[in-house]
Symmetry: none
Subunit: 399 residues, 2 copies
């Protein structure tokens, strides 16, 4: 798709705003038979759906539940199956660690092992974050020949390990046996050129075991999701758009940075994000604006909380509409149905509003209503071409 689009892109002065409601899609609550979107009072979203083209997005493949990484890459036009980003890289992006090309990142857990080195708790009882900070500090004492090591705390038992140096490979097996009563596994090279890196990581693990030996909980580490920064085509180059990301959460800023968007400084509240959008309106062609509250409530299994988060978003919509973007897109990176209390595989409602979006019979922004929209059920990475077309930024294919 990117290869097809890139040669057709033309410049224009149109403005595009893509609003991503994290975990937007939901499921009916059994008591009422209505989903979060069907329960909430959403006068502004429903009015928009009436004048917009609507549909459903599938981010990865049927039945596949997307993580936040693939979910957003899809929205940005990258096929998330083709452009895979390792967990280590996502974890590093999630704390806004400035990964460089060639770095190898891994997701780390502090775990607890018994005297025989066998795992008794894979998460060390979900260590308090301050203990995590103290233990990562200790791991920073490790030095290995020819590479620079970075160890950064994330949250609770989680940390990020980054190796920086020449000739590193991310094609390494994981140390987590995913079971109790077994010792951590040694790292193995998964490609010919990875033996050197595997040796370094195994030395890091040995040193960590030694340095952490006296801890009652968190006396060992597990490493997984080794990967290097993927070589993604740059969003501003592919689409010839000056593109900015507005997101209060570091993970989403990291994802936007990964594809080459400018990341704008903003506050923690959605009102701050809208103020940032207003302030930079003239300097960019494309804005990715992230709204987190829907996902948070969904993950907590808080149906009413998710309904309230949707209603707060709806109340903020007029402020965004007053900026009169030429193309307004509202969708999400995946479903987070409250009754699942987790990400879900269900397709996610989407609306595209522009002067040329056409009309469909949809008059409500819900999972059920959007199924009858003219956009149909489509892969998320097909959205950007439609957005670009609506912005009159694509020329025709063939004479």
């Amino acid at each position: 798709m990117l290869d097809l689009i890139a040669p057709l892109v033309v410049e224009n002065t149109t403005k595009i705003v893509l609003l991503s409601l994290d975990g937007l899609g939901g499921l009916p609550r059994p008591e009422t038979g209505r989903s979060e979107l069907e329960t909430a009072r959403l006068p502004n979203l429903n009015a928009l759906a009436t004048s917009a083209a609507c549909g459903l997005l599938r981010h990865v493949a049927p039945g596949i539940t997307p993580g936040s990484g693939p979910g957003h890459l899809g929205l940005f036009g990258y096929d998330p199956v083709r452009f895979q980003v390792g967990r280590g890289v996502l974890e590093a992006l999630g704390i806004e660690f400035a990964l460089r090309a060639g770095d190898v990142a891994a997701r780390g857990n502090f775990c607890t092992v018994d005297r025989d080195g066998k795992i008794t708790d894979r998460r060390a009882g979900r260590l308090p974050t301050d203990v995590c900070v103290r233990l990562t500090d200790r791991l920073r004492g490790i030095s290995l020949p020819g590479v620079e090591l970075q160890v950064e705390p994330v949250k609770e038992h989680r940390f990020v390990l980054v190796l920086r140096g020449p000739g590193l490979s991310g094609r390494l097996s994981e140390t987590d046996p995913q079971a109790l009563g077994k010792p951590p596994l040694p790292v193995k090279a998964l490609e010919a050129g990875a033996a050197h890196t595997a040796g370094l990581v195994n030395r890091f693990v040995d040193e960590a075991r030694r340095l952490l030996a006296d801890e009652p909980a968190g006396n060992m580490v597990l490493l997984r999701g080794f990967d290097r920064l993927p070589d993604l085509p740059r969003f501003p180059d592919v689409y010839r758009l000056r593109a900015a990301a507005i997101a209060a959460y570091p993970m989403y800023r990291g994802l936007a940075k990964l594809v080459g968007m400018d990341v704008l400084k903003t506050g923690a509240a959605f009102a701050d994000e809208i103020a940032t959008l207003r302030e930079h309106r003239d300097a960019y062609d494309f804005f990715f604006v992230h709204y987190k509250d829907t996902d948070k409530a969904g993950e907590d299994g808080d149906f009413d909380g998710k309904v309230a988060a949707l209603e707060r978003f709806d109340a903020a919509l007029p402020d965004i509409l007053s900026l009169a973007p030429d193309v307004l897109v509202i969708t999400g990176d995946h479903a987070t149905p409250s009754i699942l209390a987790a990400h879900g595989w269900q397709p996610v409602p989407v609306l595209v509003r522009s002067a040329y979006c056409g009309a469909d019979p949809v008059t409500a922004f819900t999972e059920r209503a959007c199924a009858s929209g003219t956009l149909g059920l489509m892969p998320a990475h097909h959205l950007m071409p439609i957005v670009m077309a609506n912005a009159l930024r694509l020329t025709k294919f063939g004479a």
Copy 2:
């Protein structure tokens, strides 16, 4: 798709008529919220939609606006992304130039350059066509070793250059720098075997510069879209159909010929096309009938004109229905929304009527209504297999 279909094709006596309304799809006019199809009075089309299976066709990819070439190739069952046809070839087809296998065709513009050879007008002020005829006549004086040259006027500043001879390649760069104040670029070979052809074209350009030097406007040429006739599987062979094209406009006759259909002689009016259809009914299994008026009005931004063109088509439908084709297909090669005054990327309504088409809830032949049809939103090149199935001309896949 073609590879899947071809071995399943069986003979039958059923008749198929495919009516292509050029630029069929539209968009709502802001004043009324209704598209051209929704505004027109179309009793015959709506009755057909009620008894047919309906849906929407996407010709190239989401958001991509098809040219007439890719749009029709899709209708004929060829994936237009896989089977790309260069602009030079399409331009030659558009004037019904009898291209042969191995010929290299380019689209030419007469342009104007200053004393330093820098372009001052890429279209030479859109020369009157009679001047174009005179200048192409002059270019016919050029002769090059080992190839036969054909130079044919098209319209205004446009002409076609065809090189005929052994060992030619169409993998050549363009001479148009797409900017004023720069000289035309030399042609470069884009593959190893193209150096000889590049040399010939550069000699042609040098001669053209010399022959046109005294012209006040159009004193130089720009060449682009070099290509050879693509090697397309022949439509009559793939589908085992005696196939005929009925089209008043040369471009569409050229496209039909490109895939191996017989092109029937017909008049300029749609009534003439229907008379031709009636006359040849028994001699063919498949008819592609082209209706141009919808696109013309759309391109002119003439909403009411497009409504009128649709109503004229509707009035002519009973004449076609009286021929009782076993499968009747009505669709278009792309959208031409009047409010865009250009081709659009929007999916195009389609209906398939046969004894076995099934029923759906659609009772109007409009963009919005067809979105709910049982055919769904599908790639245009998936239409022909459905048409063949409805004609009982495909056997089952697997035992």
